[in-house]
Symmetry: C2
Subunit: 328 residues, 2 copies
């Protein structure tokens, strides 16, 4: 984890999972493409790709794990979550590069550089846009109900909160629209990514969690471990059999204030049920509740909180215990 220069072999990107769609019957439009530029007639009908996912990789000259680490973001977010934290510290992309992993950061279908498709022509519904209040009071647990305010000085946060709320606006810059009906497309693209790699370790956040847990069920031979930071959902043991996951260790990590926010009060037991099914099936699964270890104040944004490096180190130690890192 030194600050010596990273020895980088390659940086690049690709897309996976998309397919060609054709649009017909739409009315023509006119467009000026640049100030002082030509006026184009635009025919919106024709072919485009939809359902693709974006993956950016940084590969090291001498990785210390044979398995690339895939970082999958949560809902209404993009891979930017894994880069610099809102208060300017190194994100987990850099943390795990320094720990010796080739790191693949993706933008899921419809998010960021994955692009998105016209609605209602291709995507069926209109997207949702995250508000500051929803992030603050509901999903990210920065403060209790009623504590958001447009004026930063008037916002109240939870006692001891580790999220850098002075940079809330910087965090809000990262929000991207999300759709509610693209789960199948998104899972298809994640599975295509996993299928394109001989092996990988999947590390997810929030909405990415369910996709990662499902991906492991779909490719237990290729996925060498699943690390879920506060997954917002999980497979249903009534419909999915965890027995195929005997060789795939699972780690779940949870922050603070979960009992004070209705979304999480409802969500955590559904994930716990899958964890218990994993354990019952003999899968090596671990459930880390940070407050019960004396680590209090973590929001839903574990990888952006002030102790993000310490949590990264905890995850890395688990990866070492699971023999996912080549000993040096």
């Amino acid at each position: 984890m030194s600050a010596a220069p990273l020895q980088v072999r390659d940086i690049g990107s690709f897309h996976v999972g998309g397919q060609m769609v054709s649009l017909t019957g739409l009315a023509p439009r006119l467009r000026v493409s640049t100030a002082n530029g030509a006026v184009h007639p635009i025919d919106p009908n024709g072919e485009m790709i939809a359902g693709q996912m974006y993956v950016q990789y940084v590969k090291l000259a001498a990785p210390r794990s044979p398995h690339p680490l895939l970082l999958w973001h949560g809902g209404g977010m993009s891979g930017v979550n894994w880069e610099t934290t809102p208060d300017g510290r190194a994100g987990w992309q850099m943390f795990f590069l320094r720990a010796g992993f080739d790191v693949f950061v993706s933008d899921a279908v419809e998010r960021g550089r994955a692009s998105w498709a016209p609605y209602p022509d291709v995507f069926k519904d209109a997207p949702y846009f995250r508000t500051g209040r929803e992030a603050w009071e509901e999903t990210f647990r920065f403060g209790p109900a009623g504590s958001w305010n447009v004026d930063p000085a008037q916002r109240r946060s939870h006692d001891g909160l580790r999220f850098p709320i002075a940079r809330m606006e910087g965090f809000m810059n990262q929000f991207v629209p999300r759709w509610g009906d693209n789960d199948a497309l998104t899972q298809h693209a994640y599975d295509a990514l996993v299928g394109s790699l001989e092996s990988s370790i999947v590390l997810t956040h929030s909405q990415g969690g369910n996709f990662g847990l499902q991906a492991a069920l779909h490719a237990p031979d290729r996925i060498k471990a699943v690390i879920s930071l506060e997954p917002s959902g999980a497979p249903d043991p009534e419909h999915c059999d965890p027995a195929v996951l005997g060789d795939v260790p699972h780690l779940f990590v949870w922050g603070d204030y979960l009992d004070q926010h209705p979304f999480w009060v409802e969500s955590v037991p559904k994930v716990r049920r899958w964890y218990e099914a994993l354990v019952a099936a003999g899968v090596n699964a671990q459930w880390i509740d940070l407050p019960s270890r004396g680590i209090v104040g973590n929001s839903h944004a574990l990888m952006a909180d002030s102790n993000s490096d310490a949590i990264g180190k905890m995850v890395h130690e688990w990866m070492c215990e699971m023999n996912l890192v080549t000993s040096t």
Copy 2:
């Protein structure tokens, strides 16, 4: 330009140029955030950031230029254009990292990881989606009018074309929606990026060109050179005075088939007019028409064509001539 490991000091990102907006009067909705997950009530009203731009940087341990290189993409595209080419070769991000520059790749307002804002609530109009036909026959000049076909085997391309058309679908994966009315927001964000850096070299493609040329007018003390790959527009000499650009060398690079596509027949003279105004004002400006140098077959996607490295080398040599690179 060796294939030795890159010595990387830091990889990260930030957003610039956004501002808080408030939405009111929208009807509530319901959302299921993940399969088997909780049903949320969603209030679409509230605060969000709009007009922000995304910037990702790779900084070297020992850059060979004091000026970071900013790569600004074209219309309907994102920074992905500068990463791996559609046929899997290293893009210009990696090319100029290997040449010794700190490289900043941005996604302009509304594109990719910059996110976008609700319309018609914040952005006024609906976005445009690029079709395969428009890219093929009009903007990117892969083939003449009528040569696009949904079946790759039936597509006709220009004789001698250097774009890797076998990977057209890979290129189409990179398309992102664009709006027609966000020029002011976009320029504001680019200017904010330039203003946040002591110095920079701006290298643009297509629609990015006009933003880069304007940015130089706005900050001639900070921008050390402007390199425009096939800009689709330029400042109007009737309204902008190039005299402030005396210390800012300009390079324009153009590919082939320009006289066979109406959009370019109309666009090139507008840019040429600005180039001539620069020369008349004593600015060190160079206009490279590749075919007139015997380099034929280049599409609008100069940085993705099969000779992208050779064109990168030409640009790099010009940068050396302009004393932008520390001699070694």
